[in-house]
């Protein structure tokens, strides 16, 4: 070919012959990611981690007792979190990394539109998600043990995972767009990842309205909540679809920012393209700092607030032991207090009596007390309720009496965490000639010795 014979004006005649620029950039980036080894290595680590998780779930005696649907949910949740991390890391390197490697300039010097460059890079950035999801499928199959949860898990995992991975990759690219160095880009991206991941791991059900809102607005936490309700508790989409709003909104916002605002102004230097963006960047920086400060102070508090229902309920008994004559009636009171910041569900307080003598008779509490179970309405924050109890000591022996508060479960498919009270050590014996007054004096003496 005679290079020199080419016309200088050929440039305008060539448009349209080549494939679209975004496709060329996508192919080039894909090759860099997978042949260069970055994406491949991450997927390899991911596959190993999944294998370890399945092994632990299967062979750990405690974890192997987890129902299949919960194991599937946990596996799906962790797989999605890792894939989001991969997308974020790849996105964070996309532009600032090219700036550092000085390969972006030659790309920007071509007549290709900036937006097409960004689109090509974005598509390559999300390329790790399809293989990652395919890899998790056999693991989900193993953990489901034939449970019907597998189908919905695959469907909703694919849908919500795609939304989150796309959004996180776009977020990483946005950070990369504004970062002059790869270090800054990685640091900010991982900071955001942790910031969104930590609250997602906190149960926000009883954390009050603010906690619920934080849970709802955090795309990762919202998806986790939706999946747990839908896959583990068999709640319907109609009940919990609102928890999908924030991830979808997050995706739309990041993509609009990336493709409509940042993309067309892609430049050789990150940071401040104009005074307007400088102000925006300052505002964003300030917001990130405030978010970090907030998370440092608020999340521990929310974590405490976010304990399971009943974690903030307390029960006390006005008696710790009793030395009684067989046939005596023992009366005592309990106080149930809601120490939390939100209202409790309706409560059930049940009494249990255990024979401490291994060779003794098993106690049937129904024979000992006419009021074995009592019901309480919901208690407001700081509210208390006193309950009176009577026990008829019908047998001789050494017994432990204790109470259990059971927060009423939300529905037939949900459960709750019971809270036990301190016990009353009750000793019943036959004593000829002893009076109730003597028993009382002995009780006083024992109490004094005890303290």
């Amino acid at each position: 070919m005679n290079v020199k014979s080419r016309s200088l004006d050929y440039q305008d005649t060539l448009s349209g012959i080549a494939p679209p620029a975004w496709w060329l950039v996508f192919k080039r980036e894909l090759s860099d990611l997978w042949i260069g080894g970055k994406a491949f290595n991450m997927i390899l680590i991911y596959a190993i981690l999944l294998g370890v998780m399945v092994y632990v779930y299967s062979f750990n005696t405690e974890l192997s007792l987890i129902p299949p649907k919960e194991a599937v949910y946990e596996m799906l949740k962790n797989a999605m979190a890792f894939c989001m991390f991969v997308g974020l890391v790849i996105g964070a390197d996309t532009l600032s990394g090219e700036r550092e490697r000085a390969t972006l300039e030659s790309l920007l010097l071509t007549p290709t539109s900036r937006r097409q460059i960004v689109i090509g890079k974005f598509l390559a950035g999300i390329s790790s998600w399809p293989p990652a999801f395919i890899i998790v499928l056999p693991f989900l199959n193993v953990l489901s043990q034939g449970d019907e949860v597998l189908g919905p898990a695959i469907l909703w995992g694919a849908l919500t995972g795609t939304v989150l991975v796309l959004a996180y990759t776009a977020l990483g690219m946005l950070v990369s767009f504004w970062s002059n160095s790869n270090k800054v880009s990685y640091f900010v991206s991982l900071g955001i990842f942790v910031l969104l991941l930590v609250p997602a791991e906190l149960p926000g059900k009883s954390a009050g309205a603010a906690g619920q809102f934080l849970q709802w607005i955090n795309p990762l936490a919202a998806v986790n909540h939706f999946l747990s309700k839908h896959l583990v508790n068999y709640r319907t989409l109609a009940e919990f679809w609102t928890w999908l709003i924030s991830p979808v909104a997050f995706l739309i916002i990041t993509c609009v920012l990336l493709f409509l605002f940042a993309g067309p102004t892609l430049r050789i230097e990150g940071g401040r393209p104009s005074k307007f963006w400088a102000k925006i960047n300052r505002a964003l920086g300030l917001s990130v700092i405030l978010c970090i400060l907030f998370s440092m102070t608020a999340f521990p508090a929310l974590a405490l607030q976010g304990e399971p229902p009943g974690g903030n309920l307390q029960i006390s008994i006005d008696m710790s032991y009793g030395l009684v004559k067989t046939g005596d009636k023992v009366e005592f009171n309990t106080v149930v207090t809601n120490a939390g910041s939100s209202a409790s569900p309706p409560l059930i307080v049940a009494m249990n009596i255990i024979n401490l003598d291994a060779s003794g008779d098993v106690v049937d509490p129904e024979d000992w007390s006419p009021q074995r179970t009592q019901y309480l309405e919901a208690l407001g924050p700081g509210e208390s309720a006193e309950l009176a109890w009577i026990i008829n000591t019908i047998l001789e022996g050494d017994y432990m009496v204790y109470m259990v508060i059971i927060p009423a479960p939300e529905s037939k498919e949900t459960t709750s965490q019971p809270i036990a009270s301190p016990g009353i050590h009750l000793t019943s014996h036959h004593t000829q000639g002893s009076t109730r007054k003597e028993c009382f004096l002995m009780q006083l003496a024992r109490r004094w010795l005890y303290y």
Binding site: A18, A21, S31, T103, E105
Partner: protein, 334 residues
């Protein structure tokens, strides 16, 4: 066939790059303050200036990577309002061009050829031809990660030519190369300019390079043009009313006495005692006596020879681009 002199050739060449009053500021700091110059096809324009003079900003504006605050430029008739069209007509070798490691040279050029609108087949064929042109045909299918710095610079030049540009901007093309590599690359640039009739803007700190291969020169200082024109004109613009003479160091005192006796010499300064360099400043009465006056040359040399002082070196002081650059930038600093 009629042969034209270089000067005649230049007058027929079209103006392919015209910059008019370009301004650019970064906050309170003015990086460019009214840059104007022009470049004709087939010529090499040297872009000179100390660090921070505004060269990089100027190149980034001219290559459409930055927008000027005011002013305009035209590339081959295309106004700077149409950056995408301009990018089709320019080729750039940036100062620190990075390359993907896991790609062969021909794949690299094919990729960029396609980005400029070529079909894959055409881009590959053209890439191979370019690699031959820059002397890399033997390594066309080697991974770029295995290339030496000099080879990468050649590949960078090939990449700058992938769209057969009208103007090529080469930013420090010989930086980091050994002397042979520098010579070879400069020869390559000269050959490309000659064969393709492309205009080249060459940024370099190596004044000898500019001196050797550039036709025109623009000297920038603090964002302003302090000298521009052909290299010869710019050298003439500066004061050249002094000679530099080198004698053996033991003869320095004797030489100073002999030269001081000459009527045309205003001042004699010892510039380097160890190597025996003297600077002779001449009287400047309407430039009757100047370094271009050959009679004074003979007078000086004659006086030294008669005094039996060996003359190791003799020439006009300020007759090189390096002297011009130092003098102009020093004056600007003052």
């Amino acid at each position: 066939m009629k042969r034209h002199t270089p000067q005649e050739n230049q007058s027929h060449q079209p103006e392919i790059l015209l910059a008019e009053n370009l301004h650019k500021s970064y906050g309170p700091r003015q990086a460019l303050a009214g840059l104007s110059f022009s470049l004709k096809a087939g010529r090499i324009l040297g872009f000179l200036g100390p660090n921070g003079a505004g060269k990089t900003t100027a190149i980034r504006i001219l290559t459409t990577l930055l927008e000027p605050d005011s002013g305009r430029f035209v590339v081959n008739g295309i106004d700077s309002k149409y950056p995408q069209a301009i990018r089709r007509r320019i080729g750039v070798l940036p100062e620190n061009l990075g390359f993907p490691r896991q790609i062969t040279a021909v794949e690299y050029l094919t990729y960029f050829g396609q980005l400029y609108g070529r079909s894959a087949k055409d881009a590959k064929a053209y890439g191979l031809a370019l690699l031959e042109e820059v002397g890399l045909e033997q390594r066309a299918r080697s991974l770029v990660g295995t290339y030496s710095h000099g080879m990468k610079q050649r590949l960078g030049i090939a990449r700058a030519l992938v769209n057969a540009p009208v103007v090529a901007f080469l930013d420090e093309p010989t930086l980091g190369l050994d002397p042979r590599g520098q010579q070879e690359l400069l020869s390559l640039i000269k050959r490309i300019v000659k064969e393709r009739n492309v205009g080249v803007v060459l940024c370099s700190h190596a004044l000898s390079e500019i001196d050797a291969i550039c036709d025109d020169v623009v000297i920038l200082m603090a964002g302003r043009v302090i000298a521009s024109g052909t290299v010869i004109d710019v050298i003439k613009q500066t004061r050249q009313n002094a000679f530099r003479v080198q004698v053996p160091p033991p003869s320095l005192d004797k030489a100073r006495r002999v030269l001081k006796a000459l009527p045309s010499i205003l001042d004699i300064a010892l510039t380097d005692e160890t190597t025996g360099w003297l600077r002779l400043e001449l009287e400047d009465e309407n430039r009757k006596v100047s370094t271009e006056n050959h009679q004074i040359n003979n007078k000086i040399l004659g006086a030294l020879v008669r005094a039996k002082i060996p003359v190791l070196s003799f020439g006009a002081d300020g007759g090189r681009l390096q002297d011009v650059f130092l003098q102009l930038t020093e004056e600007e600093v003052k």
